[in-house]
């Protein structure tokens, strides 16, 4: 990644985001640690940390083909799970000691079925996370997390106490607060960190121990104080949408004369803008309340559009956003429907909106550049 940031911490984040397995995971494994993969952002990774395992959020960085997974998924399934499962069949996730999938979307939930059919990972679980966010759903989810805790305890022969969960919540909250602090450097007219860079950092934070990640984030924030003015970066854009873990996509957008100053993405502010309540006496309940009701949801959750659009509006105002890009993966039903309401909302707000479809691997970059350029021109040119 091209960057002006002279920071070892950033280099490590960038390297980590560019690969699936990374030196921190290797070190963790060498020391006898175990790694738990999980899909999507409503999974309570705090429970995995409390179990003494390393949570690793699944992605298919570097994948270019789906030839092996094509026997399991069809061409009308979203390319994200297809590439992920292809990597799994290639052995890229052989370092995992376990995997938890939940009913996040129709294509991704089928990874669970194919994984237990085709792979030998010793621990594979599926969770039922509610599709709406009322109080009984928080209670259901609390029970679901309790069952997951018991299952982890049984399989990994560990004892997950409330104290350990509370400690894990504090640790993960610290990551959230540090990421939020990092985003403050995107608020000025001349941001010190680009959208591509922050995406790389957020992605990397899901693939390394949180203690390491927090230490690197502090180092990076310190380094950013010394980053020189990077010059006027053009129109201030926000990117919203679903699964996007490739900083290269945002690099292409920003190279057209604009700056992605904030986001509402699955690997983005939706995962860290809010923190988990540390004062709640039942930490499992606090986790359930956070993941079901409090964190900005994705469109898989019914009845929460106001909350989702409220988060977008807050970001637009806080970061002085001039226009928004909605990116969605082809064949993604949750975002495919949500875009209708988003379009109407943005018409009401009077904020320019560009809607882009894409496949999981970076492709069609020429068309992407042309569309961004045309969009910027329609706004009166990159300022």
């Amino acid at each position: 990644m091209d960057t002006d940031i002279n920071s070892k911490a950033f280099q490590e984040f960038s390297r980590t985001a560019n690969t699936i397995i990374n030196p921190e995971i290797e070190k963790w494994k060498e020391n006898g640690g175990q790694v738990m993969g999980y899909f999507c952002s409503s999974f309570p990774e705090e429970l995995v940390t409390a179990a003494g395992l390393l949570p690793f959020r699944m992605r298919a960085t570097g994948s270019t083909e789906t030839d092996l997974a094509d026997a399991c998924f069809s061409s009308i399934n979203c390319s994200f799970p297809r590439h992920c499962f292809n990597e799994a069949l290639k052995g890229s996730y052989d370092f995992l000691d376990g995997l938890v999938v939940y009913n996040s979307c129709d294509s991704t939930r089928r990874i669970y079925d194919h994984w237990i059919d085709k792979l030998k990972t010793p621990y594979v679980q599926i969770l039922s996370i509610p599709r709406k966010a009322e109080d009984p759903q928080v209670e259901w989810c609390r029970d679901e997390f309790h069952n997951l805790k018991k299952s982890l305890e049984n399989h990994f022969k560990v004892n997950i106490t409330d104290e350990k969960i509370s400690d894990a919540v504090k640790l993960h909250n610290e990551t959230r607060k540090l990421l939020k602090q990092l985003y403050q450097y995107k608020k000025p007219d001349n941001p010190k960190v680009t959208g591509a860079e922050t995406l790389a950092i957020v992605v990397a934070c899901t693939a390394m121990p949180k203690t390491v990640c927090n230490s690197l984030l502090k180092e990076l924030i310190n380094d950013l104080e010394n980053v020189p003015d990077r010059g006027h970066a053009g129109a201030r854009l926000m990117v919203i949408g679903g699964e996007l873990d490739n900083p290269g996509y945002l690099e292409i957008i920003e190279a057209q004369g604009c700056q992605v100053v904030t986001d509402s993405l699955c690997f983005g502010t939706r995962t860290f803008w809010k923190t988990i309540d540390e004062s709640e006496s039942d930490p499992l309940y606090a986790l359930a309340k956070y993941y079901v009701q409090e964190r900005p949801s994705c469109p898989r959750v019914y009845g929460m559009y106001e909350q989702r659009s409220g988060h977008v509006k807050q970001m637009i105002e806080e970061f002085n956003v001039e226009a928004v890009i909605l990116e969605k993966l082809n064949f993604c039903d949750p975002w495919g429907f949500e875009m209708f309401t988003i379009k109407n909302t943005f018409d009401d707000w009077g904020i320019p909106l560009l809607m882009l479809d894409r496949d999981y691997p970076l492709s069609g970059t020429g068309q992407l550049k042309t569309r961004i350029q045309a969009f910027l021109e329609s706004m009166g040119g990159a300022s």
Partner: protein, 432 residues
Amino acid sequence: MDDKTKKSLERVYEEIARYEMYEELINQNPDGLSHLHIPLVQNVLRQHRTTVECISEGKPLVASYFTNAPELYTAMDLHWYCLISQAFGGGGENPHMLEDLEALDDMPLSSDICTLLRLGIYYLDAGLLPRPTAVVPLIEPCDGVVGAHEVLRNHREWRDLPFFAPDPPYYGDERSISYFSNELQRMVDFLEEHTGQKMDYDKLKEVCDETNKQYALWAEYNSLRGSVPCPHGHTLGMACFALCNGAGAGDPEHTKWYNDLIINGEKRIRENDPEVPNQKIRLLWFDVQPIWFANLAPWLEQEWGACVVQDMFGFAPYTPVDTSSIETMLHDLGKRNLLDGPMVRQARGIAANFLTDIENIVNDMQIDCVIVPGHMGHKDGSASISFMRNKCREIGVPFLYIGVDQFDKRYTTVDEVKDRISKFFTSMGLGS
């Protein structure tokens, strides 16, 4: 009635006219099945006329779906209509489909998401849905229903209406049933609050007693469809679903219909007089039929001697409802609507749910081959095809996956579907 209200009933009136014509045609040309077809037509007419009456007279009206326990609506004396029913075009080819699809192409919705659910949004956007008092949407078995109903909930035309969506969990264990039953109780509370209608639990007992009889008769009828040859063609098998699950669930007239269906089926078996003569292939069509190919079943029957013995909606492993208390009724309605209702049963949850159905149907009904049309909206289904294929290989029945849009013939044409099926039958040595 203002122009907007009139427009919202336009398609309802059209369907009434179409079904009145069907009724007249059947009466003019009676045959040995007229007494079974007439009640189906009259049922649709009764539902549509009640919708018009609700709108005209300001009576409570709910927009909902079949797996939201229709017995509850009957017991509350609440009429409801299905939000997407007009896409099915009143039983024949939908005369508006092409114009609707063209209008849909201009809406800010991805073309790769379920066309049926996109049509539901179009109907509201175009003012073609009667305005209900309350909406009780589905949020399973697919991402599409969640997304589509979130759009409806936030649409400028309906955002002032009360919505409540029961949440079916991913599993089918006792904990899930209890949770979903509680959701149904919350749905009743919601309906009482927003429609002014009260739940009459004595009436619910009567309704459940009646649907219990109907489901038992339906199961008995399905055992007749397992006979060789199958006594009836596809239409009557599919129709079993509509009477138990539609508005007016629990009507004793429906019980009489199931009885008459069994009597007719038994007679045809006894006299070796199947509705579809020269049956050579017994087919499981694992979905609904493409609505743009209304002649699919007749074509299969006439061209190949292939009888659609079962489909996704005609199979009824239904849980009887224990009517001894309010708690048992809600519990068992939860179970029935979580574990038994078509689509929610198969597509919600793990892929094995599809396989159980396929294996049971193939074994119980002496099926020769399985065809999955593969609707483009069924992403979970398309990610489960390899499991279905392997299951069919394991139990020794040929399997075909086509890949269609059940609602848009521009996606896969009638000729392409015919060609795929014909080549499949030929290569598998079926029908010769």
